[in-house]
């Protein structure tokens, strides 16, 4: 295999990693507060579809990203009210959000399906983009990739080092103690759910606007679920999610490259690779290592003040 193969492959990895990473970061925030959000697939679908409607009508990709983020957050408001305040079953409510997302986008997105829309250009950073290898891989991505990097760092900083991050983690580990210490448990959880909505919406909008410049029904294609797996793989740590997203994206982006060089692998079995890889990274560490359970202790549990110990 030529070096051009590897260069082309590596240069596309960030584009595949960004949506997985954004969604996973949102889910990490949410799960660190103790709420399982299985609705990622639906939230991403709404983000992707609404962004394309905006980009189609206004030709402004930036506005499209913003509207995609806001629309998914609006859907997350419904999820948040249900699971946090009405204390509904988090698994079933998450699945209902997936259904709502699929339903809303299927019904409302018909007019813009398969229509090309404006997206982002790859940046040219002058001499930086000219550097062999590094220039193409690091300094020639679209602007959202650099925004993503900032978002990872800010998310890591906010969760692991700030007072709000500490309260968020406390709510997810031991809500009764957090409550006694004066933290508004339900409010923190609700905001965390909204964050996951915003991040998943941005991830979906990235897929349709930055990656594909088109929306088709079902285009999220399980990436929301892969992001949920990525959270487990990353053991609820933002920086590990970055590493995981690059690993997952590496496999994902290998498929079109192998197709481009005409590799003799059945195409649909190759398309199963991202899902098989995700299963493998969930199963293999569980089989090989007996590791401590690091999931937030109150994950998936309702908090009621009468349960305080």
């Amino acid at each position: 295999m030529s070096s051009a193969f590897f260069l082309n492959w590596f240069a596309t990895i960030p584009d595949y990693a960004a949506p997985l990473l954004l969604a996973a970061l949102g889910l990490i925030i949410c799960e660190r507060s103790g709420v399982i959000n299985l609705g990622a697939e639906g939230l991403m679908a709404v983000g992707a579809m609404s962004a394309v409607i905006v980009s189609f009508n206004t030709s402004s990709p930036a506005l499209a990203m913003a509207v995609g983020t806001i629309s998914a957050t609006a859907l997350a408001v419904i999820f948040g009210i249900a699971v946090v305040y009405f204390k509904t079953n988090q698994v079933l409510s998450g699945l209902a959000i997936v259904a709502l997302g699929a339903g809303i986008t299927g019904v409302a997105g018909r007019a813009v399906a398969h229509q090309p829309v404006p997206g982002f250009e790859r940046l040219n950073m002058g001499f930086l983009s000219e550097i062999p290898w590094i220039g193409k891989i690091v300094f020639s991505q679209n602007i959202m990739i650099y925004v993503c990097i900032v978002i990872v760092i800010v998310t890591w900083w906010a969760i692991e080092t700030t007072r709000y991050g500490l309260k968020l983690r406390a709510v997810g580990e031991d809500p009764a103690t957090a409550d006694t210490a004066g933290v508004d448990v339900l409010f923190y959880r609700f905001i965390a759910v909204l964050c996951s909505g915003a991040f998943c919406g941005l991830a979906g909008a990235y897929l349709s606007i930055a990656s594909s410049q088109v929306w088709v029904e079902g285009m999220i294609a399980g990436r929301g679920w892969i992001a949920i797996a990525l959270v487990i793989f990353a053991r609820w740590r933002p920086l590990r999610a970055l590493a995981g997203a690059i690993l997952f994206a590496g496999a994902d982006s290998l498929i079109p490259r192998l197709q481009a060089i005409g590799a003799d692998i059945p195409v649909y079995l190759m398309l199963a690779l991202p899902y098989v890889l995700t299963l493998a990274v969930l199963i293999i560490p569980a089989v090989l290592f007996k590791r401590a359970d690091v999931s937030p202790s109150a994950l998936g549990l309702d908090y009621l003040r009468q349960d305080r110990h």
Partner: protein
């Protein structure tokens, strides 16, 4: 917030009366229907024709009734499958994957003419059950042995097997005379015969038979007692010496097997071949049916029939109003969420207090 600062205190009810359960169910269903009504009207459906499309044309019309029944056959099986796993709090979110496994197995038996023609159909349905069970056996093993999350595993495996279906339909199993990715039509001996009412086929008796079997198993047998105990509290069940692992394994394999059978029944009773979209939507429909039926097999049959009616009405809306078929999953999502939210009012006693109770 709702707990305290607004002057509202929630107290979890120790026991919930049947009346309260019924009230919250009716409230949830009513709210769900109302929101569905608003969504349909805002999508351009005439308010007056909604009742007509969803009730009159489906349930008070012999033709519509036959369509709803035909649609309900695999839904009953998927619903029973979902109920068998959910009752034990094993989240089988990969029903579609097991439906695919069953559809592939049944089609494979037909495609390669396995077994004598006189029993071919039985071989197909048995293969479908075994394939569905085998497909879920993998997540069950890794869940119980290594604690890997079954939600993600069952779900991702549905994506994997869908790619396998694509591979077969665009490759070895493609009907050379068709321009679409479909397998060749089954022979007559490989089809469930029609009962003479619309497109309703003998799969109806298969589905009802398994409904009865599951009713006996879950509500009239020692196994059902174990399953209920494990679903409520696995640790306590284990403490009293019940075979927790065995109960989970059997229930979940049944879950996969029933979903696989749904795939077998769709291919041999309705499609007569393997097609690209036949399992679409079964995961969520199965879960909604099982949840609405409170995991009770007899109610699953009834609810599956009603959901079948929604499918038929959805098809009509698609044809006459140009709505996407996604309207069906949207309606299901609205009703599920609405029911979940309304459970709040039965699960908690709400006390309004004048003053903040000191923390």
């Amino acid at each position: 917030m709702l707990d305290m600062s607004t002057g509202i205190t929630l107290v979890r009810r120790q026991s919930i009366s049947g009346r309260l359960r019924a009230l919250s169910f009716v409230g949830g269903l009513g709210t769900g229907f109302f929101i569905t009504f608003l969504v349909l009207v805002s999508s351009g459906v005439e308010p007056a024709s909604i009742l007509n499309e969803f009730v009159v044309q489906v349930f008070f019309d012999l033709h519509g009734l036959a369509q709803a029944t035909t649609t309900a056959i695999p839904l009953i099986l998927a619903g029973l499958g979902a109920a068998a796993a959910m009752k034990l709090r094993f989240w089988n979110i990969g029903i579609e994957g097991q439906v695919w496994a069953g559809a592939i197995a049944a089609t494979g038996v037909a495609f390669y003419d396995i077994g004598p023609e006189s029993i071919r159909l039985y071989v197909m349905l048995l293969a479908a059950i075994l394939a569905g069970a085998a497909w879920i056996a993998i997540p069950v093993f890794f869940k119980l042995r290594y604690g890997v999350n079954e939600i993600i595993m069952t779900l991702l495996m549905a994506y994997v097997i869908f790619q396998l279906v694509q591979h077969l339909l665009f490759g070895p199993w493609q009907d050379p005379s068709a321009s679409f990715p479909v397998s060749p039509h089954f022979d007559d001996a490989e089809r469930l015969s029609r009962i003479g009412w619309g497109a309703v086929h003998n799969g109806l008796w298969v589905a009802l038979g398994f409904g009865a079997l599951m009713w006996v198993l879950l509500e009239r047998s020692k196994f059902g007692y174990c399953a209920t105990a494990v679903g409520h509290n696995p640790l306590a069940a284990k403490g009293t010496g019940l075979p927790v692992i065995t109960t989970i394994v059997i229930s979940v394999l049944l879950s996969g097997g029933l979903a696989g059978l749904a795939g077998g029944v769709i291919t041999s009773g309705a499609e007569y071949r393997l097609t690209q979209f036949l399992a679409h939507g079964y995961t969520f429909s199965g879960i909604v049916i099982a949840f609405l039926a409170r995991f009770r097999p007899a109610l699953v049959v009834v609810v599956a029939f009603l959901v079948g009616g929604v499918y038929v009405a959805g098809d009509t809306l698609k044809v006459f109003y140009g709505l996407s078929e996604a309207i069906v999953i949207l309606i299901e999502g609205i009703i599920l969420l609405s029911l979940l939210v309304w459970e709040f009012f039965s699960r908690y006693h709400i006390e309004f207090v004048k003053q903040r109770v000191p923390a």
